[in-house]
Structure formats: C-alpha cells, structure tokens
Symmetry: C2
Subunit: 350 residues, 2 copies
C-alpha cells in the first residue's frame, strides 16, 4: 500500500469465497485443542475438566491505532496478534487460539492482504497458537482488524487485577515508554515527509524504539521465568495504555492505592535519546506512553529476593492501604500525585 497500487491486484478479483480461501492458506496448526479450524460455520475446540477458557478482544482501526503510511502490513499483522496475546498473558493464561475479523476498504489489494496475513502467521507460530476462524468483509472507508484471542488457565488460577494486597510490591517487565518514543519518531518523519517528500529519513539510530512500536512482542517469556522462580503474582495486567493507567486499574480493582518510585522506572537508553531529542520528560513517556505491552503485577513482600534474580523485571513501587493515594516519589523523596493519563481514541485527554 505504501508505494501506491499500480500493478497490484484488486481484492474483488478474488471474490468473497476467494478471500476466505486465501486467508485459510495462512492457517497454523500448533494446538491439540483445535478440533476444527476455519471453513465451517464455526471452529470447534476441545475442553478439559479443571481448565478455564480466557477470552479477550482487541480492535485496531486505521487512522486511529495505526497509519499505513509508516506501518508495514506484515508488522501490523504481527502486532494485531501480539496485543491480543498480551491480554491473555496479563491474565496468566496460556495463549491458544485467535479468531480474526478483517474489514477491508476498496483500496486494499491481494498483495496487501498477503503481507498482513504473513505477519499474522508469523505471530501465530511465534506464540504457538492457531488461527481458527473469523470473518472478512468489505468496508466503505476504514481498514480495521478485530481479533478475539482464547487461552487457557488451570481452574481458579487466572490472575485478576483485583488480587493485590496492601504493602505488596509492584513490578513491571522490560522497559517503559519505548513504543511511544517509536511513535513520536515515526510521526516526526511523517510530518517532515509531508512538507518535503524528497527528504529520505534516516531512522536507523532509532531502530529499537521503532521495533517496539511497529512489532511489539507479548511477554510470554516473563511468565515462564516467574513460574520457574516459584513466584505467583497476586494481581496482573498488561501495560497497553500506559503505566499510570495500569497502576490505577490494579489499585481500583484491589481497593488500594499505589506508590511508585520514579527513579526505579526502567527506561531504555534509546527512549532516553528520543526524549532528549524532542526535549520531553522521559518519565512522561514511561508513565503515559502506552503500547509497551509489558506486564505489570504485584507480588508479596517475601518474594522480593526471588524477583531480584529475574532479569528484565523491576520492582517500581508498592500497594498503599489508602485507596485514594496514587503517588510518585522523585529522587529527593518528594511525593507527587500520579495523573491517570494515557492514550484515548475518543477525542478526550483523560
């Protein structure tokens, strides 16, 4: 799509049945629970006593969640799967299946569909999950992606946002603000390009933050590490809308407050570099940037030494008894109120 549609094949050449057939060709087969995948009225999945099904849905809409001008379609396919898998990880569930809904506008070509589906297949194989069905329709304007993901937990072992206890440690995987830093870099280049299409952007020094924005990975690995260390989080969510929103979600659901230590926030050097270039506060990126798809969770105090041994997890604060307290402490020990601010597609800064 990026280079215009000359020499590309319009979708209507395939027809509806042809499009469905094309999508079926990107099926993966990774899960023993899949009895029947695509092709009938519905998919059929095996159940087991003592298991629970975890179901989540995430929508991505062109012009709201992504811009095809700088978002390659194979990365977008990968990302659409990752963001859903991340929600399952945030419940402590093992990802297993996705159902894919696509709304395709008239400009969409067969080549574009193939590129997108290549990314979906790559992600399915990466996460060892199956694409088991879906629906594909024409739209008048917007390209949109609607994925429902299913995963499994042992009965009673799903990790909810509501399970945190007072004084427990608040931890986060990886680093924060990188995906938003990547977005800011892409957005700057887009504006430069619109003003002067002859300028070739050199984004190579920002490769890390661009990858975090364009092709995020769900943190299946963190969950494995926690299991091996014998640490069971008491509450958990994925950081899709920014750290501050995650803190408020766990705090409110658990009837507690949150206090975090700003100096402890894990921020990647590449993110610091973007903040410096744009003269922005790196803490702002980390707190409110969103799309990091890291895991935010609480653990009992006694797990402190065990969690310190896990690479790529940082203790950033603790749960306050007072549910009104959402505070941040800076290096001088001074407290500030935490703002519940993040990305919101409904035209309102909240």
């Amino acid at each position: 799509m990026e280079k215009g549609n000359e020499n590309k094949t319009p979708l209507h050449v395939l027809g509806e049945a042809g499009i469905h057939q094309r999508i079926r060709e990107f099926s993966a087969s990774n899960r023993p629970e899949t009895i029947l995948g695509q092709g009938d009225d519905a998919a059929v999945l095996r159940q087991a006593q003592g298991k629970e099904t975890v179901v989540t849905k995430d929508l991505l809409v062109e012009g709201v969640h992504f811009d095809l001008m700088y978002c390659p379609l194979h990365h977008l396919g990968y990302k659409a799967v990752s963001v859903n898998v991340s929600d399952l990880i945030g419940m402590g569930a093992e990802p297993a299946h996705i159902v894919l809904g696509l709304g395709l506008p008239p400009k969409f070509t067969v080549e574009a569909l193939d590129a997108f589906m290549e990314g979906v297949r790559l992600a399915c194989n990466r996460y060892r999950i199956d694409l088991v069905g879906g629906d594909t329709v024409a739209t008048l304007h917007d390209f949109f992606i609607s994925i429902t993901a299913l995963g499994y937990v042992n009965a009673g072992e799903g990790i909810l946002q509501s399970g945190a206890q007072k004084n427990e440690l608040l931890c986060v995987s990886g680093n924060l603000g990188a995906a938003y830093a990547g977005f800011l870099m892409l957005d700057r280049e887009r504006r430069i390009f619109l003003e002067n299409p002859d300028v070739q952007p050199d984004l190579s020094e920002h490769a890390y933050v661009l990858e975090r924005q364009l092709k995020p990975e769900a943190r299946t690995d963190i969950w494995d590490q926690l299991n091996r260390a014998g640490i069971r989080p008491t509450s958990m969510t994925d950081v899709s809308d920014g750290l501050s929103k995650g803190c408020f979600m766990i705090g409110r659901a658990s009837g507690l407050g949150v206090r975090i230590d700003l100096e402890r926030l894990p921020i990647h050097p590449a993110t610091l570099k973007v903040a410096e270039e744009l003269k922005m506060d790196p803490y702002h990126l980390a707190l409110h940037g969103g799309e990091d798809y890291e895991i935010l969770f609480t653990i009992p105090l006694e797990s402190y030494s065990a969690i310190e041994n896990i690479e790529d997890v940082t203790v950033i604060g603790f749960m306050e008894e007072d549910p009104q307290v959402f505070q941040m402490i800076d290096r001088s020990g001074k407290s500030f109120p935490m703002q519940e601010q993040g990305w919101n597609g409904f035209g309102q800064q909240d």
Copy 2:
C-alpha cells in the same frame, strides 16, 4: 441517529472509561460457565470434560451490511447478536457467550450507544447468553460491529457441513426470501424519500418481511424440536447468504451434489406479495436473497416421517451422488442448473 443529533450527547463526554462502564451496565448473567465477565483484561469461562467450545465471528459494517437511515439501532443490536447465535445453531451448539467489538464514528452519540446496547441486552436475554467482554474504539468514518460468539456441544456432536451422505433429504426451517423482500421494501422507500422527503411511507402491510430483515431470530427452537423428535441432522449450516450458497457449501464439504424441488421451497405470502409488487421471481428471492438465518440440514431417508411431523421444517430436496450436480426441478419436472449466487460485499456478483 435517524432524526439528527440535536440535543444528543456526544460520546467523548463519557470518555473511553465511561463508554466501557456504560457498556458493562448492559451485561446479562444467564450462564453458569461465566466465572468472570467484563472489566478485567479478559473474561474467564469454566470448561467441562466431554464438552467442546464452538467459536464463530460475524462482522457488520455500516453502508455495507446495514444503513442507519432505515435500521433502528436497537434492532441492529439485536440482529448483530442473532446472526452470530445463528452460526452456533448451524453447528448444533448451545449458544452461551458473546464478546462485543464496536467501532464508533464521531457522529455516534451516547443515546445511540444506549439504543444499540438495549438491543444487544434483549437478544442476550432472549437467547440466554452472556455478554462477557469486548473492546470499543473510535473510528474515523465507519460504524462497525464485531461479535465473537461461543457455544457448547457434547464432544464429537458438532454438526459440520461435511457430514451429508448421498440420497439424504435436504431440509430447511421456516421460509426463505423474506429478509431480502424486507430489504427491497426498505430500499424502495429510501429512494422515494431521497427524491421527495415529504412522502410518508406506509410500510404496515409489509410488517412481516420488514421484521425478518431488521430483527431476525436465530432458530434455537428448531434444534429443540429436532431433539424431541429424535432426529439428528448429518450436516447443517445456517442460511445467511442465501439458500443456493448453503446448498453449495453442504454439497462441496460433503463431496456430493444437491437437487432441490422448486415447488417445495417455503415462501411466505408476504414475500410473494413483495415479489409481485416488484415484478420479481419469488424463487429468486428464496434462492439468493440471504439473511434469512434459517437452518439448512440433511437427514437420513428413514427420518422422513418424523420430520414431516415437525412444523416449520420443509424437505426441499436431496443429496446427489455426483458432486457436479447442483440442479433445481420445476413443477413440470424440468431440471435447471442452480446458480451459486448471493450477497457479496466485495463488489462482485458471485
């Protein structure tokens, strides 16, 4: 939306969290499997040994699948649930849960969301299913609805399109072509209105076909009747894209052909009246109209007398051994080839 948005509340007044909260208020609680519904990263559903989960997804897009000019939002909410439940019925599954994705354009108001959700809640209670989660996002242009529905079957008892045997009877529930007849009436009134907004349409004599178009019911009742009569269909699908497409789906999946008797096609008097008014062939409506959400299925010959006792099911033909034969017989006994033709949103008559 029909009367303009004066005195209506724009959605951004609620903000994203407020919209999610509003949708949560329309939750229903009908199923024992629902352990955790809306509000966390994902829903959690109980599994059972010997059961299978059946999953389907249907997308509806404004301007492609519905026109808000003549489609009241509460009916649209109901219909969006019905079309998904119908896919589960077409697998022989008991409908249980839905996950709701909404893409809301800037023109959408709080009142419009409430009206839509009222229809969703009504359908959930009608089908005794739970709304367990979803995602709601802003779009730039199109209003779209993405529903994933989950249901349950006893292990191995899902009814696929591929199970038909040669010489088996092909049966359909209810009557065919009514939903398309309703669409044609609405479309005619829309064009009259656009030419002369002062003409008040009188659609009262077309109430039956309008209801079939605007507020279709999934045929949960037929499945109950088949169970009571001890009839187990060997193959099944719902007639969402027209009878002819359904015949081709069952035929191809089963490696067989289909022969139907035109005179046997069940057509409602109200549909015949529309065909007469529009000087259209009523068989065309029945064969290719789509959106009837009736159930098309095959049964062994020996179930013939039992099926004759079920009201609202008609034997319309039988399965041919030759997979190339898709034929229709008229009252004179003459055979015609069946056209695989139906509604297709990708700008191609197929």
